[in-house]
Amino acid sequence: MSTDVRVAGVGIHPFGRFPDLTVTELGIAAVRAALDEAGDPRFDAAFCGTAYAGVAAGHKVLSAIGRTGIPIVDVEAGCASGAAALMLAAGAIRAGQYDTVLVFGIEKMPKGIIRSTFFEPWREAAGLAATPAYFALRAQRLQREANVTKEQLAQVVVKNRRHGVHNPDAMFRRETTVEEVLGSRLVCEPLHLFMLCSPNEGAAAVVLRRAADAASDAVRLDAAVLRSHLPGSVLGEATPMSGVEDDDIPPPSTLAARDAYAAAGVGPTDLDVVECQDTDAARELLSYEELGLCERGEQGRLLEEGTTALGGRLPVNPSGGLLSKGEPLGASALGQVVELTRQLRGTADARQIEGARVGLAHTVGRGANASVTIVSR
């Protein structure tokens, strides 16, 4: 069954830097907003996505508002942590275990290149844990194999930052230009500083409810899929030390997209709006082909024709994407669901995509973990 889970309420704490707020306080704000929208404050279980908030981080949020007693499960799946929590919650409702589940994601990230326990110490000592360098190698491969230009990488940033101007929950709300992006500090060729998203802080929450108990016009959660990588791709998000010829190895984002399209009974041409992982500018363009939005090599044209900009046929990252919002790992995927829900309800204000009915959200990162979520109304 793909039609029996609804989004009863969403809430978000803006993404940015909040030195005076704890990660618990960020979570409280998002959770309270989502529960307010959901009307009935009762929920049967809670799943909390976070990678850096520590032991029982979800419990601390719900303790502060006196909503413990129910099962609370913290979930870590890198950039897909919030989506993993969503998958578990939706599955539990579909299985009949719960009627209403609170899903939230919270994060307060350190500044700069994220130190990860993922890499062994020798790999750090050898300089081989340089995360932006992996992004850069992936970008270079996309340039080589999909004819993406450095100018197009800059155009992704210009597009998403233009969208972000209209999002009060985004960290960067100023437009930029191709010249400014290419003039920003070179991090790892071909990636300049403005082409990389900022790890930051924030929280987002979604209340899921079985359809029988939800408003009949509530946004439907058609698919919440999480997949991991298959072995072999040296530049895949699993960041192995070696790999083999990988043209026939589907990346985890493709695996998740295929499952999600099948579960939702839709395909790429049915989509009205997409929120995708734009950790760096090339990552967004790679996502286009991995999600089936275009064939390999077509993404540059899609971007330049304005297809994926607000006003185009299939706007991608109308929220401004991670390039405008920043990326609080645990909250990121649920922030996308908040945006899609608002788009489908017609309450996205200046970012509104007229008549949006079907939306897709995508994350991919450390693990590798990839998620694809599909909602409709």
Binding site: I114, W122, E124, G127, A129, R144, V234, S242
Partner: protein
């Protein structure tokens, strides 16, 4: 003061005992796929029937960039080259690169392994790792 010794950043990664630098990998006897670094299991088919192989330190350049800021946990010099070399055994390996001005490089150009210094440890020894440089 004794002469600084050369200490590998991790044992079992590489050696140059016979002169040329080799990477210490393995090959799965079940599915035939190569791996690096060497492990007791096959990351493709989960077989434990894995045999050690010495991978010749020659290949072609498959990807490259330059790291300008020291990443977390790294005490070596910056900037440094970083990329992927495709070994003649068909394995694509993450590696440091001795590339100087990256603009002069070409996809597919011949590369060969070298051993390079990273930093001096608390015993005064020189910590070294494998790297790849364009074949002269």
């Amino acid at each position: 003061m004794s002469t600084p010794r050369r200490v590998p950043v991790r044992s079992g990664l590489f050696d140059d005992d016979a002169g040329d630098v080799v990477l210490l990998g393995a090959r799965c006897r079940t599915c035939g796929r190569p791996q690096f670094p060497r492990s007791a299991t096959c990351p493709y088919c989960s077989s434990v029937d894995v045999e050690p192989v010495r991978l010749a330190g020659v290949g072609t350049l498959w990807g490259w960039t330059t790291v300008h800021t020291a990443p977390p946990g790294y005490d070596g010099p910056v900037p440094f080259g970083f990329g992927v070399v495709e070994l003649s055994a068909g394995l694509r390996v993450i590696t440091r690169l001795e590339i100087g001005d990256g603009a002069a490089l070409q996809f597919g150009q011949p590369m060969q392994a070298a051993i390079v210094a990273l930093h001096t440890d608390h015993d005064g020894d020189t910590v070294v790792t494998y790297s790849f440089a364009p074949t002269p």
